[in-house]
């Protein structure tokens, strides 16, 4: 941009780029490197557009391929057998909170009516907030976005979550409940 407000003279045609000669007596160097006239500077060559589209397509493919590779490598089952609670700790219709499979992984054990025990990860399948059991409504509830899960099955029944809670397999040994593994 010139300081006196005058516009530069005509630029050379695109098929005949100017030689990078000095300003005086020849064409400016920037015109040789950018030979588009400003009446046509919004022109994008089809090949350039196609190149950008192919680049975006490659990025989308790479993302899908990475997910596929990670899906192959990831362990579906997590955790090992570990006692989590005594039967007397969880009265019927109540919940018991524990950590499984890791020390930082929160989980909930439910004593359902009829004497059945089920356990789920507390990590909401929407955005990983901790769900908790609402006894008065008999539901697993995520307070972040009002997600609701069925305590019998762990299925999402309301709110934004689409997938069920990861389930923790249990085994009863005497008066102790053993967590075996967590499956998505």
């Amino acid at each position: 941009m010139s300081g006196n407000g005058r516009r530069p003279a005509a630029a050379p045609a695109v098929n005949r780029p100017a030689s990078p000669s000095p300003r005086r007596g020849g064409t400016s160097r920037w015109r040789g490197e950018f030979p588009y006239h400003w009446d046509a500077d919004d022109v994008v060559a089809r090949r350039e557009l196609l190149g950008l589209a192919v680049l975006a397509s490659g990025a989308l493919f790479a993302g899908t391929a990475v997910l596929a590779a990670m899906g192959r490598l990831r362990e579906r089952r997590r955790g090992s057998a570990r006692p989590v609670a005594r039967l007397a700790d969880v009265p019927e219709g109540r919940a018991y909170y524990f950590n499984y499979p890791g020390e930082d992984d929160q989980a909930v054990l439910l004593h359902l009516p009829g004497g059945r025990f089920v356990a789920y990860s507390q990590k909401c399948t929407h955005l990983s907030c901790a769900v908790y059991f609402q006894e008065e409504h008999n539901r697993l509830f995520c307070p972040c976005h009002d997600g609701v899960f069925n305590p019998q099955t762990g299925e999402a029944v309301a709110g934004p979550p689409q997938r069920p809670l990861p389930r923790i397999a249990l085994r009863r040994e005497g008066d102790t409940l053993i967590a075996l593994e967590e499956t998505p």
Binding site: A11, W38, D39, A40, V43, A53, V54, T64, A65, L67
Partner: protein, 91 residues
């Protein structure tokens, strides 16, 4: 559709008009305009398909159903390979 560049009012009427030099080799022949537009639309639809495949793959991965993700990656890869082929042929 916007008007072709050569039909638009000029930004700088004082400057010499060399738009024909710039545009001459770029604008398609009259009969090819529709063909190029169709190709562009097909390309956009295929890229939309790839984006959808990526979201489905992410959902399946988070749900722990990683075994069948390779099929989605294969379809996405075929679309990418087709685009790459078209790009190389346009050279």
């Amino acid at each position: 559709m916007s008007r072709p560049v050569r039909d638009r009012p000029r930004v700088n009427p004082e400057a010499p008009d060399n738009r024909a030099d710039v545009l001459g080799a770029r604008e398609p022949l009259p009969g090819r305009q529709a063909l190029l537009l169709a190709a562009l639309l097909i390309g956009l639809v295929l890229m939309g398909l790839q984006l959808w495949l990526l979201t489905v793959a992410l959902d399946m991965y988070l749900a722990g159903e990683g075994e069948s993700l390779w099929l989605l990656a294969l379809v996405s890869g075929l679309v990418f390979a087709g685009g790459l082929l078209a790009w190389r042929r346009s050279a």
